[in-house]
């Protein structure tokens, strides 16, 4: 499947789902700041990669998938779980990009223009994440073939 944009999702998402994301996003950002002030940037920095809104996003994906299947008269439990699993797999690839983002900021922000360093780090996150996603997608059929292959007799 090619990368594309589906605008229907914006209509599917309810106002309180947007409000919840805003609330959780705001809370974790404020909390990270408070923790950094109280325990220092060494501990506070950990929370910059805290999966604050992931449970909310995963629940949203699950609900939308169930609703879609319910319209077809199906339960959709299995499909919804698979959709969350696939999204989490994407997030695990994204987290490698997130680590690269953090390393880029750590190594460059003191020696270069800070805003340019942040911009560069965003580019590193985006490029590495998309590149790793493409590699995973390219090798997915091969992995499936290896899994299905019969185990040779010893």
């Amino acid at each position: 499947m090619k990368i594309h944009v589906e605008l229907d999702v914006v209509r599917q998402t309810k106002w309180y789902e947007y409000a919840l994301r805003f609330l959780f996003g705001g809370l974790i950002t404020a909390t990270a700041g408070i923790i950094a002030k109280k325990f220092g940037p060494e501990i506070g920095g950990l929370f910059l990669a805290f999966p604050a809104i992931f449970p909310g996003s995963a629940t949203l994906i699950e609900n939308h998938e169930r609703e879609r299947k319910a319209r077809l008269g199906l339960k959709g439990t299995k499909r919804a779980a698979q959709a969350v699993s696939v999204a989490a797999a994407g997030a695990s690839i994204g987290s490698i990009g997130l680590a690269a983002f953090a390393r880029a900021v750590w190594k460059t922000i003191s020696n270069h223009s800070p805003w340019l360093a942040l911009l560069g780090a965003i580019l590193v996150w985006m490029t590495l994440s998309v590149l790793l996603w493409q590699i995973r997608k390219r090798f997915a059929p091969l992995r499936r073939r290896i899994k299905r292959a019969p185990v040779p007799n010893e």
Partner: protein, 113 residues
């Protein structure tokens, strides 16, 4: 107090924007990349940069590398559990946050303390 409110508002807006981007894109594995977007980091670091300076931000970013590795473990475990057990998303994703805490603080103690 006003700084916390400012952090809350900027964080809420940036996180919501990245989450919306994640909703729009298909396939879901690609959209999932935005689940690990540096949204909280961008909101925090930009504000911290103007208040505390670059050295403070560099220290936060160094710890963030460890937090991101913990996120990788967290997301991989959630993906595996959801694929194999078909449980509800909220209990799995919420309880696995304990794993994030364990890996993040464990690695921090070993590597950065």
């Amino acid at each position: 107090m006003s700084e916390i409110v400012l952090r809350f508002l900027i964080g809420g807006a940036v996180v919501s924007a990245f989450a919306l981007l994640g909703d729009l894109f298909k396939p879901k594995s690609f959209a999932g990349l935005f689940g690990a977007a540096p949204s909280v980091a961008l909101a925090t670091l930009a504000l911290t940069l103007s208040l505390e300076g670059a050295r403070y931000v560099a220290t936060e970013a160094r710890s963030m590398v460890v937090g991101a590795i913990a996120f990788l473990v967290y997301a991989s475990v959630v993906s595996w559990v959801m694929m194999h057990y078909k449980w509800r998303a909220l209990p799995v994703t919420a309880s696995s946050i304990l794993l994030w805490f364990g890996v993040a603080f464990g690695l921090w103690c070993v590597c950065l303390r």
